[in-house]
Symmetry: none
DNA sequence: TATGAATGAGCTTTCATTCAT
DNA sequence: AATGAATGAAAGCTCATTCAT
């Protein structure tokens, strides 16, 4: 039984679904061949539809690429934003909190392998505005990470002289490297765990 | 006295120089506008030469872009490869060695800002083969880093249970993040030092 | 009491009215944007109707444009055709007759500014057949004008050696120029009068 | 033997000539099929050249059309501008002067039948800027004509109360009608003379 | 009868690459 | 060896028209 909202906007729902289908096909195409090598007719062809139809749902090629990127960023943002640091009573609890944040972000990329491919391989160098959008996303992750670190410093779980700004950016870099490695790994599950453990060890006690 | 190679290619010395000039111009162009937005005639125009001449020195557009990438990778590789871990007597000395490796790599990117721009912003998504080439370069850095780590573990300067493989990749990720940050920083000098210190601290003693 | 024709097409009365509505909307659109810049969906949009509906009332885009032109030409033709030269007793009366013809035609264009815009600005260069249709309309005006002139010559109100054919075409050209000028004028009323007076003077006594 | 200028700009002369060739082919195409029905490949095809070559010599389609129009307007302008009213001693001489102006303009259109076709049939409704350019050209003709008329009024060859502004526009309208008629005439030569005579008669003595 | 989603022919424009000079 | 005019494949995008609902 359709919800009221579904009934009210039956026609627009159809369109919304079609738009989603095209978006999905575009995501496949972009992940496989990148932005420039993907033709509008490729995307349309994957759905067996005429390429003119594409333009009923998206302004142009850049528009759909940005939409794809936005979709991915939104997923990551929603994870990160709902996961602000909360009160913790022990260092152990605090460490758990940080590790959970990292694992959640990992999870997003593991859930859909195309995300990483598009974000870290195909999205750069397409458009100036897109570049800064990606930068902004990484900055946002770093900012939330820094919140955790600052919180840890305040609570005394972390060193008082910690350069939280640089370290949050560094850890974001680690995150990206980890995602890339997991994307390429034969056993992503095991690889993920290995990264979690190694990074936790690094952060907590260093390498010495 | 000219070397054998120089004698054999006496006539091609000029050619070699011209090739280098074109390569330099291409590097500027690619760093400024990216692969797709750079036209062969742009590169030729920067040298005041006819764009037909370009094809006497390079196969095609992808060829020169790969050559540019190769040039950059070569520079980094030469730094990394000449810097294999050597005997160290103390942990302090060992730490110094690692930090020096990182600083040398940083140095390459700071010496020529175009390197980072091309490698981390413009080179991705151009060509499948190029993507793997970049991966390979990062892997190579990670491999050398791992050598250091294994050496440190052996000598007892680092934890015995250290996951050297993952950590070397993670540290490479930190390196990339650092280079990006320095590229965008107002005061690259200071930023570089800040990163060095923060990362050394992280690696040696963790954040706790 | 409905006429036979009205009875026969009782059901199509609504259709006829809708056709007229679409025609009116098309006239606005064509006058504003010209033939090529006007989209079928523009016309439909002005009526808040689906653009597929358009094709129930008109064959295609050219069809409706021709219909618009025909409508305008019909209006002009009806004025001109009902205004054949009649008996006049004096030169003054005769002059009045000619001037009235001109003013009536002017009136048609002043009553609906779109007529002139479409006919003299937008209709040309669309279609070969349309070009000749416009020629034909101008010829028709010229022909009626010539009838007046011939009548004037016969009655002795005009010179015996008058080249009525050429002069009728020339006066038609004046008419077109006048309409264009009035279309662009700030005070169409005054401009119309000024033209009437000047042209009457020219025709009656020349410029000398 | 090439002139100095030809020697100095040998390369640019070639280009100039090619440009002229393309312009000529475009003029044929536009005159035959109008702006919208003419494809760039049509123009290129007429010269047996690749359509990409076109873009080495012209910005785009509108650019070459404007160039064609400008060429025509320039011809007419050069006639009109070099023919300003000069001192005349008698009414007869003055009349001759006016008639000569008209005949010269006629001449331009008779010399190349495409001029009239493009200007009066194909150029309108293509582009707003082009429309005003054509208006401006007609205005310019009218302005020069008015100069003659004002001169005639001053010298006493024409009526003192003459509405020179309106009449100059009217005569320009006659001119256009005449050109159109001659373009369509079987014997353009004879038709031209007939128009000259009839218009001269109208202007000098009216129709009465 | 009305609709608007779907279609694809058809156009303009770009630019890497070739090759005659 | 150097040039740059010529080329045409290739792609994005528009919109008149069709037709299933």
């Amino acid at each position: 039984m359709p919800t009221i909202k579904e009934q009210a906007s039956a026609g627009s729902d159809r369109a919304e679904q079609k738009r989603a289908e095209i978006l999905a096909a575009a995501m496949d195409a972009f992940a496989e061949n990148g932005y420039h090598a993907t033709k509008i007719s490729d995307i349309a062809g994957r759905l067996g539809m005429g390429h003119g139809t594409f333009y009923r749902y998206f302004e142009n090629k850049l528009d759909i690429f940005v939409s794809v990127i936005d979709l991915i960023i939104e997923k990551i943002t929603s994870i990160v934003e709902t996961d602000y640091p909360t009160a913790t009573n022990s260092a152990a609890e605090y460490h758990q909190q940080i590790i959970r944040l990292g694992e959640r972000i990992f999870q997003v990329f593991r859930a859909d392998m195309r995300f990483g491919t598009i974000l870290f391989y195909e999205a750069l160098g397409v458009d100036q505005a897109l570049n800064s959008k990606l930068e902004t996303m990484l900055d946002m992750i770093a900012m939330v990470t820094e919140l955790y670190f600052k919180n840890g410093v305040e609570k005394g779980f972390l060193r008082q002289d910690l350069d939280t700004l640089v370290l949050s950016k560094a850890i974001t870099g680690v995150l990206v490297a980890g995602v890339r490695d997991v994307l390429a790994a034969k056993d992503p599950e095991a690889t993920t765990k290995r990264w979690s453990k190694a990074i936790a060890g690094l952060m907590i006690g260093g390498m010495g």
